[in-house]
């Protein structure tokens, strides 16, 4: 059936969560590409639950999909699922995050750790190399929070004059970002910068800062969501480390379709991250 | 310690003494329930505890069963002081208790309730076979027709009482405490119970017996201790005259136990409008072809044995349960089935037999409970007239002499008889045209009963009517203008006030109505589930 239209090619995409506009956009990119390529794309939402993702991977295999895109909830936890897909001879594309073990045909990702470093550098530049800052962490124990936090900490080592005065979790949530920042401002009214591990929390922080946002306090976010980009334009968000989720989704599907058709692909596809700043 | 030396001379030092309580005190927030009570029990006697509602009888026996701990005083068993801190302690001392309120688990089987916490085991696992067999024996001994595997939830209140008795017997105790076991039983069951109690007494068991039915005292008892306001006022032999017992208990004598004032003379009765007219009411497996009417100014009694279906008929009339066919009319207007509000709007009220399950919101105050039925009437533009409700509650509780710390006391902490007064009170406030009373005076002391009868008289005098179910036959006979007798889900006959005697009613109640046998079979078959 390689000759006739590819409409009977089924591809599965397991998204880690649609709780986050970033992945919603990734999904949108993937769906657009699938439509263009005329393949049947099934999207499932693992709701940030590794075992639900394992279930969905199993279900893809029952549906006889030709290839699978996994956007792992967790890189380790995805390994057994990938192995069973390998056993069933279904090629797997990893999107956004890698998978620790098992044969991944290609990984399409933008690097969270590198992004974190970039965020540190950007914030340092905005602050002129010195200042006191807050860090808003994502949900404790999630890989995104871990990797971005790690990258940021590493990146900050180059700037000894920047001090992190408080580091508190706000669960990637805008409302919590607002509350936590409000509280931290009581204890640390003099801060000059905030790094938030995603744009949602950054937008919450900006709300908490009010008129100070973008003036006396520089906020750097992560993801480059539409709302985030708008805030950058408005000058309240100093910068965001923009991944290109749509592009990421698109490339993942492109590769998955190629694999389904038996073509060879590069084992590593990098989607560039770029820092978006106002000026 | 008690200063009541009056009781001392009577409590002879006796080798056969099982148990003694000296100067026992218990206070609850706002109430002194027991204020230095002395009590003793001998082997092979039935010691009756007598007192008004709220006098402290139940509280006293709860000290023995481990449900409450005394604040002061001592308890001696076999002459040595003991501490009873829980049900286990009581069980070890050989004390078994039948509480005034049932303590059964609704979704467990009868057998399991009987052996609750003491189920026979084999290899560590529950041995159901043995348990059911032993339960069947006990049930046969108390003479109740329930199967060990029946779920308790499905039993009527009289059967629950019999299961409680079987449960207490299963302990083979030396001391058996019975708190108003006869309140919900009909004459027949009471006889069965008395036979059992006498046999136990002959075996040397000491029995503490609480009752508000004075005629039972002479029939069963040996000694009587009278409690008043948390104090033991005196101890007298059981053969004491009833009038004297009443005087000791209430502090005054009662002229007439059933002061029924018949408002409508026999001639006018026929002319009076039927307020309630029931025709051909039937629910398969429960009751068949029930027809009768209740006229203004009348008290109609509904008599019958346990399980005759009286409760089910009145619940159907009130709309609490569905029925299959037949009609219920109030003042000629037909009521829809299964609609409590329609029945209430038409002027019917029902005081249910199960006060805890159906009558009271136990954790709410006396005031809230009394105002429940009239809540809607007390509402203007969505807001409840709370002070008006409070005034009404204060009035009715005074009339019924509810013994309480105040209107804000939780109903759960009232004595059993006082709880019953609250159930009746809330319906008296509702001013229903036809008030149905199901076992209204269950657990109520003689003094308060008369008050309730007076209120019934006032109701009928003002043109209302009362339909009264009672297992207390003298009460039915004493208060009714007419008596309907039910047997096996049918009306077996009707008796006028003059012809209604104990024997006439009983003859109808045990009558095997022709054609009923099939229904009975059906009933039995359905019970298999």
């Amino acid at each position: 059936n390689s000759s006739s239209g590819s409409s009977d090619i089924k591809v599965g995409l397991s998204v880690s969560t649609l709780n986050n506009p970033f992945f919603v956009q990734m999904k949108a990119g993937a769906q657009a590409e699938a439509k263009a390529a005329g393949v049947d794309l099934t999207v499932t939402d693992a709701q940030n639950d590794a075992s639900q993702q394992a279930n969905q991977m199993q279900n893809f295999l029952s549906q006889n999909v030709k290839s699978i895109i996994i956007n792992p909830v967790d890189s380790d936890a995805a390994s057994p699922s990938v192995k069973s897909a390998n056993k069933a001879d279904v090629p797997v594309v990893a999107a956004d995050r890698g998978v620790t073990r098992g044969d991944i045909a290609t990984t399409v990702a933008s690097d969270n750790v590198a992004g974190g470093k970039l965020a540190a550098k950007t914030l340092a530049q905005q602050l002129g190399g010195k200042g006191t800052i807050l860090v808003l962490q994502g949900t404790a124990g999630t890989s995104a929070s871990r990797e971005r936090g790690q990258g940021f900490a590493e990146g900050l080592k180059a700037y000894p004059d920047i001090k992190v005065v408080a580091k508190q979790p706000a669960d990637f949530d805008r409302a919590k970002g607002l509350d936590v920042t409000t509280n931290l401002l009581q204890a640390h009214p003099k801060i000059t910068g905030i790094f938030a591990e995603n744009d949602e929390m950054a937008l919450g922080a900006i709300k908490a800062l009010g008129s100070k946002a973008g003036k006396s306090v520089k906020v750097v976010g992560f993801d480059g969501t539409p709302d985030g980009l708008k805030a950058v334009e408005a000058g309240t968000l100093a910068a965001t480390v923009a991944q290109q989720p749509k592009e990421l989704g698109k490339l993942a599907v492109k590769n998955a379709v190629a694999l389904a058709k038996g073509k060879k692909v590069d084992p590593m596809v990098k989607v560039p991250v770029k820092v978006v700043t106002g000026k | 310690m008690s200063t009541q030396s009056a009781t001392k001379p009577l409590s002879v030092e006796n080798a056969s003494e099982l148990l003694r309580m000296e100067g026992v005190r218990k206070t609850f927030p706002g109430v002194v329930a027991l204020d230095g009570v002395d009590f003793d029990l001998r082997r092979g006697e039935v010691h009756v505890l007598l007192g008004e509602n709220g006098a402290g009888k139940s509280t006293l026996i709860k000290m023995l069963s481990g449900a409450h701990r005394p604040d002061g005083g001592r308890i001696l068993v076999d002459g040595s002081p003991v501490r009873i801190h829980g049900a286990q302690d009581a069980e070890r001392l050989g004390i078994a208790t039948i509480y005034q309120e049932f303590n059964l688990v609704p979704d467990l089987s009868v057998a399991e309730n009987i052996f609750l916490g003491r189920q026979p085991r084999r290899l560590g696992l529950i041995d159901r076979k043995t348990m059911n067999a032993r339960a069947a024996e006990l049930l046969a001994r108390v003479g109740v027709d329930v199967s060990p595997t029946d779920r308790v939830r499905e039993l009527g209140i009289a059967r629950l009482q019999m299961v409680e008795i079987a449960k207490a017997l299963s302990l083979d105790a030396r001391v058996l405490i019975m708190d108003e076991p006869t309140a919900v039983l009909t004459t027949e069951e009471v006889d069965k119970l008395f036979r059992i109690v006498r046999a136990l007494r002959a075996d040397g068991v000491g029995i503490v017996f609480i009752t508000h039915h004075l005629e039972e005292i002479a029939a069963l008892g040996d000694r009587v201790t009278v409690l008043r306001d948390g104090r033991s006022v005196t101890q007298v032999p059981a053969a004491t005259e009833q009038d004297e017992l009443v005087r000791l208990m209430v502090g005054r004598s009662i002229e007439q136990q059933y002061p029924r004032e018949r408002t409508a003379p026999a001639a006018g009765a026929a002319a009076a409008t039927p307020l309630l007219k029931v025709e051909g009411l039937t629910r398969r497996g429960s009751f068949q072809d029930i027809s009768f009417e209740v006229r203004a100014g009348e008290v109609v009694g509904l008599a019958g044995l346990v399980g005759a279906g009286r409760t089910e008929v009145v619940r159907a009339i009130f709309g609490a349960d569905p029925y299959d066919s037949g009609t219920v009319r109030v003042l000629g207007k037909r009521l829809p089935g299964r609609d409590v509000n329609a029945a209430m709007d038409a002027g019917i009220g029902l005081v249910p037999e199960d006060r805890k399950g159906q009558g009271l919101v136990l954790d709410a105050s006396v005031h809230e409970n009394l105002g429940l039925v009239t809540l809607r009437r007390a509402t203007r533009a969505g807001l409840v007239d709370r002070s008006g409700q409070r005034r009404a509650a204060a009035r009715i509780s005074e009339q019924l002499a509810v013994r309480m710390a105040g209107l804000d006391q939780r109903v759960r902490t009232l004595s059993g008889g006082n709880q019953q007064k609250v159930v009746i009170g809330k319906w008296l406030l509702a001013d229903s045209k036809v008030l149905i009373l199901d076992e209204p005076t269950r657990g109520i002391d003689v003094g308060a009963k008369v008050e309730i009868y007076q209120l019934i008289n006032e109701l009928t005098a003002s043109g209302h009517a009362v339909l009264m179910i009672s297992s207390d036959l003298p009460e039915v006979l004493g208060m009714s203008d007419r008596v309907l007798v039910m047997a096996q889900g049918r009306i077996a006959g009707e008796l006028g006030a003059q012809e209604a005697t104990q024997d006439a009613v009983m003859a109808l109640a045990v009558k095997d109505i022709k054609g009923v046998t099939e229904d009975v079979k059906e009933l039995e078959g359905s019970r298999g589930h």
Binding site: L18, N20, P21, V24, K27, A140, A166, K167, Q168, P169, D173, R174, A175, L178, D179, V180, T182, N183, L184, Q186, A187, E200, K207, P226, D227 | F28, P29, G30, A320, V340, N341, M344, L350, P352, G357, Q358, G359, L360, V361, L362, D363, A364, S365, H367, E368, N369, L372, V373, L375, R376, T379, G382, L383, V384, R386, A405, D408, Q409, R410, K426
Partner: protein, 330 residues
């Protein structure tokens, strides 16, 4: 039913001592959780100098607002021996409806607000109907609504936040430059809750239904109809909480308020209500919500590490209620 007579009995314990401290003691005894809150505030003030400032206390108020408003609605449900797991989702759905109809569909703001509150009430009515007429356990009916509400919020918004109109966003601001509107809304909703529970027919019916549903039915209370009212109220309150939340963020998030149902129920229970029904007060619920907010605020001020934070929250919740339960026995 009402009057929490558990406490009545306590109130009788000191029949004398009419002095000055007696009043305070009475208040503390009367409202169990209050002592826990007082202790918590005391400890936080000692541990962090930033805690006991007017501004911070106002912040705590703002941060308690959404939980408190949700919890007020849930109080009706819990008093009547039900449970409502759907309030977080319903809040998100209502806010999404508001933003979508005003921003994407261009409806006038007042209409959008009515639509949003109507959505909340409708969700509540559906849960209520499933419970009274479908005889579903409240847990299941509202769990289903939790899932449905969240799903619909995602469907309507296509998974992305939607901006809300400027005029609604002003609800998240302050009045006169210092008094936060969410706090005012919270207090207003609290007063309404208190009045409904204590003074209205429906409120009294809630206590009766929660205390003994069968007795309530046989006393002529239309239990099914009242349950519709109860869940509709809860849904309406959830909608208002959702609007307040969205106004603070200036946007409606389909994934907002995830898991808030547990916070709301916890606030009600910490405030002295019983999940088996028949007891509960608006004042208790407010205190419960404040305890949770003080706790989170304090942990931020103290910069407790992210990993330990959850441990501390758990321990303090247990301790707070323990204080109450021990005090009640003492």
């Amino acid at each position: 039913m009402a009057t929490d007579t558990l406490k009545t009995s306590n109130a009788h314990q000191s029949p004398k001592a009419p002095g000055g401290s007696a009043v305070l003691r009475r208040v503390l005894l009367d409202n169990g959780a209050l002592s826990a809150l007082v202790v918590l505030v005391g400890v936080m003030s000692l541990m962090s100098g930033d805690f006991l400032t007017t501004q911070n206390l106002l912040n705590v108020g703002v941060q308690a607002a959404v939980t408190a408003i949700l919890a007020f609605g849930v109080t009706f449900v819990i008093v009547s021996a039900g449970i409502d797991l759907s309030v977080g989702s319903v809040a998100a759905l209502s806010a999404t409806v508001l933003a979508w109809s005003a921003t994407s569909q261009g409806l006038p703001v007042w209409l959008a607000v009515i639509l949003a509150v109507g959505t909340g009430i409708l969700c509540g009515l559906v849960s209520g109907a499933l419970i009274s007429f479908g005889k579903l356990p409240p847990f299941i009916a509202t769990l289903a609504m939790l899932s449905i509400g969240r799903g619909l919020a995602l469907v309507i918004s296509q998974g992305s936040p939607i901006e809300i109109p400027e005029s609604v966003a002003r609800l998240g601001d302050t009045l006169g430059g210092w008094l936060p509107v969410p706090v005012i809304v919270m207090i207003a909703m609290g007063l309404i809750t208190g009045a409904v529970l204590a003074r209205t027919y429906s409120g009294r019916a809630m206590y009766a239904i929660g205390g003994n549903e069968e007795a309530a039915r046989l006393s002529g209370i239309r239990v099914k109809r009242q349950k519709l009212v109860i869940y509709a109220l809860s849904g309406g309150f959830a909608a208002i909480a959702g609007i307040v939340l969205a106004s603070r963020l200036a946007s409606a998030q389909p994934q907002a308020a995830v898991g808030y149902e547990l916070d709301a129920i916890a606030a009600v229970v910490i405030g002295g209500a019983s999940l088996s029904g028949g007891v509960g007060k608006a004042s208790g619920t407010l205190i419960g919500a404040l305890i949770l907010a003080v706790l989170r605020n304090g942990l931020n001020l103290l910069s407790v590490s992210a990993f330990w934070q959850q441990v501390v929250i758990g321990v303090v919740i247990a301790l707070a209620v323990l204080v109450d339960s021990l005090r009640r026995r003492a």
